[in-house]
């Protein structure tokens, strides 16, 4: 963290950047809120640690349109979102200074709570060990046991940025990101239907998934567009719970970088990333490996084709049971 602070101060001092998009300590000691630090205001409250899970790239849509140059801190996975946003002309790159920063996976406080810890007042990070102070005493937890879902299968390395701050070597967790998708595929349609009904019926249409998603960066979404024919603010029935998430996943298909923010922010704990990963898996299998945000030029798999593409009937053949 110190190296990041030093770098920012250096860039502030030599006039390269005017603002910094980073994380600030929030209401609770383990809360990290995206924050724009200014040269004048300084880096008071700045933090970078295991709790800075937010993907900051989407904030650049607004920030890059403001005057002056903004420095953005990008974790490896965020660099892909950044590239994808640049590819879609959502960011004015001339106003942005990108700095890639190391990441060893972020901690999901919800997982701590799920472990039965309540009344958390403080969490102190010490290497791979977390000391959780609660109203009922201290507890020690292994950091790797409470990583965010999105970090468990993360194999991403940072794409090119204006500046890169390297971290110490770190062995990434080796969870296969498609493992759960495959488990679902192996179920019977009835089981799958039951699984998704259970999950999607929890949806309260708070739109957190949509608002956090760097691919859902649209000024107005189809669900807000009266001319789309499907505009709606709330799920009035089971169908709409399904509809909202199918359309959402479909719209980001081929554009989703698998940053996992949707699942992380869902207050209902719906594993939304499993919808996105299904599309990623299908695209990889049917149209060749594709990583959205790998560069800023290539066309997404749903806006390109080959004449030899498989027929939709392949779903009957290879689909789940």
């Amino acid at each position: 963290m110190q190296r990041i602070v030093d770098k920012i101060n250096e860039l502030f001092a030599n006039g390269t950047v005017d603002r910094v998009l980073g994380w600030k300590v929030g209401e609770f000691s383990y809360d990290r809120t995206p924050y724009v630090f200014t040269k004048e205001g300084g880096l008071d409250g700045f933090a970078y640690d295991s709790f800075c899970a937010n993907n900051l790239s989407k904030y650049l849509i607004a920030e890059s349109r403001k005057e002056g140059k903004v420095l953005v801190l990008l974790k490896p996975c965020d660099t892909y979102s950044y590239n994808q946003l640049v590819a879609e002309n959502r960011i004015k790159t001339e106003n942005v200074y990108t700095v890639s920063i190391p990441c060893k996976g972020k901690v999901d406080v919800e997982k701590l709570k799920a472990m039965g810890m309540t009344g958390i007042t403080d969490i102190v990070e010490n290497g791979e060990e977390l000391t959780v102070t609660t109203l009922y005493g201290d507890e020690k937890v292994n950091r790797c046991d409470v990583l965010c879902e999105k970090c468990l299968a993360c194999q991403k390395t940072a794409k090119e940025c204006d500046e890169a701050i390297e971290g110490e070597a770190y062995e990434k967790p080796h969870k296969d990101r498609f493992a759960t998708v495959e488990e679902l595929e192996a179920m019977s349609p009835e089981e799958r239907f039951a699984f998704w009904r259970k999950e999607l019926s929890k949806c309260i249409r708070c739109n957190a998934c949509r608002n956090v998603c760097p691919a859902c960066s649209y000024i107005k979404c189809v669900f807000d567009n009266d001319n789309s024919g499907i505009a709606s603010k709330a799920n009035t029935d089971e169908f709409q719970e399904n509809m909202f998430h199918i359309i959402r996943a479909f719209h980001v298909a081929g554009r989703c970088t698998d940053c996992g923010e949707c699942s992380r922010v869902c207050p209902q704990g719906i594993p939304l990333h499993l919808l996105n990963r299904k599309f990623i898996k299908e695209i990889n299998e049917l149209y060749g490996e594709y990583q959205a945000g790998d560069n800023t030029e290539s066309r997404g798999p749903l806006t390109s084709f080959t004449k030899e593409d498989c027929e939709p009937s392949i779903v009957y053949e290879k689909g789940g049971k």
Partner: protein, 661 residues
């Protein structure tokens, strides 16, 4: 609120026998938006149409639903009727009660039930219809022809003949193309130069035609009727205006050992050169790579001898920008490279040559003055073997999958001409099949076999090698069911042809689609064979597919007539069912332009104003003159900003709802 009229047609008994038309009309009256409904024997008849017109006036209708035959049958008819009644022609929807109901169902109850649903569906859609007005755009009365071979020449002449200005852009120093290199032409055996060069002169002297030789199209913008092209005029270092074509410079040029492209490298030319005697324009060009002045700074002999001070060593590329209404692609072809056909010995054995090289050998103006002499020792061969289908009709990646079409005939021509000049020479031809459809073509081929005693061997050649100063051709004789090795003095390979290497970049520039072989795709293989799917782009000659001279000339004329048809219009009326983007919703993400097959979508960065919005945004703009209304963009658009007029999201949803009600 719309006031819709529903008109149910009996179509005699075609519909009425299976559908209770009166019941459909009655059901229509129950629809809230329907102000009037009736049924009639023949809606499309004069009296049916006037009934519609009267009803529109009497009931103050805002739109009409015709429940009748397929819209593909009479949609236009009823649009005109609506227009005559003072309605917008697009306030018409057709419910297909005949082809998609009464004719496919037997049970009257079911068919009537379905007919009612179809009628309701049409009403539901029409309720959301907006009057549409077709956009108009102007037409620049000038055509651009890319390529100055026989295809481009003929197209340009025909367009100019109709009184329109035409520009030919040719990348080589002269027009004429491949045909200028040919000796005789099948099946009449008239000399190519004798029939081509007068046309070249016609082009040069036609005041409607401008030739940009030694030039390339660098950029094309715009759309049908309104293209703008940027043409790079490569520096030829000779002022075209001043040069008289006297040729003094080429005679004096001391750099004489440069391979002569026109003669397929079979002889040499000077560094300043005119490709051939009848070149148009007859202005030399300096090959700067081989020019001593350019290489060392010394020399400058050509400038000294030029009587008109036309040599300009400091000339630079210049650019011309011109507006066009139509663009014709006539980029032609080249024989494929034979590098990957090592077993045939081309490039290693000097006496293995291509057909185009043989053309030059036979040509009186060629490197051997028309005498067939072996490149290796300049001796007259005693035996010539022709090998057909080299690189054509193959399965492997080095070969072309298609038939090059011209090789059977020109090989027969070569064989006949050879035997005609040198009756004592032996001529063998290896072939897979001989394909000679065409007027007088098969007769021509039979003459080669019967009159000239050319030895046709059905079989492919596997290997060509040198032995004791002879070229050995190892192949199969499938009719004789044996392998054989023929001892030859000269071997001529009928090399496959492929589109010119510039075709792909030109296709991209024009957003004209191409197939995997880089041939341009026609708008319809049968019915629109000389048009590209991209409006305003036309195809002439081999750029669209292999063809011989007569076919090329007829296609060139066809392309010209299409161009003339376009240029004759003062205004182009578009299809009003085009896509449109709502700037208040659009993000300018660029996905829609990715899927547009016509390049109709561009992006602007402009101020957007709306309720509570006033900011500069990047958003998509559809060029309505170019959009064909497929709707690919609408589905790609994640915000639903892009919609298709006449088939809007809400209209289709309304149809879905009506069907599922």
């Amino acid at each position: 609120m719309q006031r819709i009229g529903v008109f149910v047609c009996w179509c005699g008994s075609n519909i009425a026998a299976t559908v209770d038309v009166a019941a459909v009309a009655e059901a229509a009256k129950l629809e809230p938006a329907v102000a009037f409904a009736t049924d009639y024997q023949y809606m499309c008849s004069e009296s049916g149409q006037s009934m519609i017109k009267d009803a529109v006036k009497e009931h103050n209708l805002t739109g009409i639903v015709i429940a009748s035959c397929s819209p593909r049958m009479h949609e236009t008819t009823f649009r005109k009727t609506a227009q005559a009644a003072g309605l917008n022609p697009y306030m018409v929807e057709i419910a297909n009660l005949r082809e998609q109901c009464s004719w496919v169902h037997k049970n009257k109850e079911e068919a009537t039930e379905k007919a009612i649903v179809l009628m309701r569906t049409a009403v539901a859609k029409l309720t959301l219809n907006q009057p549409l007005i077709a956009g108009e755009s102007s037409v620049t009365k000038r055509a651009l022809v890319i390529g100055g071979g026989i295809a481009g020449i003929q197209t340009a002449l025909d367009i100019a003949d109709a009184g329109y200005e035409v520009d030919i852009v040719e990348k080589k120093p002269t027009i004429g193309g491949k045909m200028a290199q040919l000796d005789k032409t099948f099946p009449t055996l008239d000399c190519a130069a004798c029939i081509l060069t007068p046309k070249m002169v016609d082009v040069a002297t036609n005041d409607k035609i401008t030739i940009y030789s030694y030039s390339e199209v660098e950029e094309v913008k715009g759309f049908v009727g309104n293209f703008t092209a940027k043409i790079r005029r490569k520096a030829r270092y000779v002022d075209e205006e001043l040069c008289t074509g006297c040729g003094a410079c080429t005679e004096k040029c001391p750099s004489k050992k440069n391979p002569n492209e026109f003669n397929m490298g079979l002889d040499n030319r000077t560094a300043i050169y005119i490709p051939f005697a009848q070149a148009v324009p007859k202005v030399p060009v300096i090959d700067a790579k081989n020019c001593i002045k350019f290489k060392t700074g010394k020399c400058g002999l050509c400038a000294t001898v030029c009587p008109s001070n036309a040599i300009k060593y400091d000339q630079e590329d210049t650019f011309v920008e011109e507006n066009y209404g139509a663009i014709v692609v006539a980029t032609g072809f080249n024989p494929i490279k034979l590098d990957e056909f090592g077993e045939l010995g081309y490039g290693q054995i000097p006496d293995v040559i291509t057909s185009l090289e043989y053309e030059r050998l036979m040509n009186a103006a060629g490197p051997t003055k028309g005498h067939v002499l072996r490149p290796s020792d300049g001796k007259k061969p005693k035996k010539i073997v022709f090998v057909q289908c080299v690189g054509s009709r193959g399965q492997s990646c080095r070969e072309k999958g298609y038939c090059s079409k011209i090789c059977c005939m020109y090989t027969a021509k070569h064989a006949i001409l050879t035997k005609d000049h040198y009756p004592e020479m032996d001529v063998d031809v290896f072939y897979i099949d001989v394909r000679t459809p065409g007027k007088n073509y098969d007769e021509f081929y039979r003459r080669a076999v019967e009159e000239y005693d050319v030895n046709y061997i059905k079989g492919q050649v596997g290997k060509i090698y040198e032995e004791n100063g002879k070229v050995m051709v190892q192949g199969s004789d499938m009719l004789g069911n044996k392998q054989l090795t023929v001892e030859a003095d000269l071997v001529v390979l009928a090399t496959a042809i492929e589109p010119d290497e510039t075709a792909r970049s030109i296709g991209t520039m024009l957003t004209a689609s191409m197939d995997t072989n880089d041939f341009f795709t026609e708008a319809h293989a049968k019915l629109r064979p000389v048009e590209s799917p991209t409006a305003g782009i036309y195809l002439s000659g081999v750029c669209q597919g292999p063809k011989d001279v007569p076919e090329t000339v007829s296609q060139a004329g066809a392309a010209a007539s299409k161009v003339i048809g376009l240029l004759a219009k003062d205004k182009l009326v578009g299809n009003p069912c085009v896509a449109g983007s709502n700037p208040l919703l659009c993000n300018g993400c660029g996905q829609c332009a990715n899927v547009c097959p016509y390049g109709a979508i561009s992006y602007v960065e402009e101020e957007v104003r709306g309720p509570g919005v006033r900011e500069v945004r990047r958003y998509a703009v559809v060029n309505e003159a170019v959009c064909q209304g497929c709707g690919a963009c609408t589905v790609t658009c994640p915000s639903g900003a892009m919609d298709l007029k006449g088939f809007t999201n809400r209209q289709i949803m309304a149809e879905v709802d009506a069907i599922c009600k």
